[in-house]
Subunit: 142 residues, 4 copies
């Protein structure tokens, strides 16, 4: 999960809020998942899809695995970006690669991989049911 | 909003979790609202009512005002209790008095007052629609 | 605590993040305190003061009371602004009035009043110890 | 990361709080990291070590990787346990295996692996610097 040759297709800028920092003066480990989730949802909106809309069609992407590598901490007031790409893993799984960088800096703060499956009516289905526009944005995982 | 002569009817014990503490090493101000909400919901459950159940009957209590007086901070590892009583304020409003104490200590950490109204289908109604068992637990606010 | 004739001196724009919404599909009551805190801290930074800096001088503003009136809920994806003004309440207390509005809308979502005192080395002191630039921004509470 | 033959050495019971649930009516993915963190800290306390104490000796365990496999969701009111064991991965890394189960149920809700390194004065050191009592609780990762 390095950062070489990753062709990100979306990015979202954030600023650390003090309530996200913990006793140690750094952003709490769990808060990064909030950042990554918000970035995914804003990305989906930017493609004209959102979870509410997919849900009305009976289609629910669900996170089945989160992997987060913490490289260096974010602190009070830091401005950072979450950069995202999507990978097709198999007929039934896709993945968001979501990496965090201090704004204007190439050294990663966090490397994230969020693996998703798709359910219809609570049962797992092939990711083929996702909108074409979304599937076209996925690269294959070599 | 003192603590004299308050006849609490419910209490719930908690322990501070480190992720609830902020840069200053104390529980973040917003987190107390989480404690108070959880206590109200557990109290409702203890009376045989829960929000999901009321909601199915079309009845939704909604918080219209929160007042929190911070008396002394909670810190990592502190064990504390939230004590609760209910007051009838008017035909359309009732209030949870919810005070926080370090366990075994009579000096309050926080004094809270959460004022609620009731809606049916999104429209305000008299609190008479609440279950009898719940209304009987309310004292009148003199 | 109406919104008439309030001369706000600072505002900050936000967008609701889905993880801030609860079972009822609306922003959880406690999350508004996060919004208000972040707005206060950004405001302080904008005046050239921040909490870390004040703390190094031994000066710690502390919240002693929060009052929040919930007028209408925020939902997934809503863009909103928190508008702020500061009032001098007494020799030892000042207050942030912080109101939330949907962007471009004049009907308030939430009316907030956050009362603060100032401590030096943990002991309450007069608010005179605050930086001149900050005190000059306070209006008197008539 | 199955659950077979895992000899857990610590467990902590929790109850889902409604504010931890999101729009979908289930505990938000990020919240599980809060549960796991609190369990680790309570475990450390139970062994007579806590982070504050270690920190005073200049020793800081830091999370460098989180891996969470979501098996089935937790919902409002669920009572669950987090079970923990510690593994020595190398001279410089150890890992908490932390799995979540509904109380009295053997089917896992979540499988977690939290990899840690140790720093002294911000620089990585061998995990040998950890207290003997803690190292003795680690099993080797075959």
């Amino acid at each position: 999960m390095g950062t070489q040759n990753k062709e990100y297709i979306y990015e979202l800028e954030f600023k650390v809020r003090d309530y996200e920092c913990d006793l140690q003066g750094i952003v709490n480990n769990a808060v990064y998942q909030n950042y990554l989730e918000h970035t995914r949802h804003e990305f989906l909106r930017s493609t004209g899809n959102d979870f509410a809309q997919l849900h009305l069609q009976g289609i629910d992407p669900v996170v089945i695995k989160s992997e987060l590598e913490y490289k260096s901490p974010l602190r009070s007031g830091d401005v950072f970006v979450v950069k995202l790409l999507m990978r097709r893993l198999s007929f039934v799984k896709f993945q968001f690669i979501e990496d965090v960088y201090l704004k204007g800096n190439e050294r990663p703060v966090l490397l994230g991989a969020i693996t998703c499956a798709v359910t219809m009516g609570g049962r797992p289905v092939k990711i083929d049911v996702l909108p074409e526009a979304l599937k076209n944005l996925m690269v294959s995982a070599e």
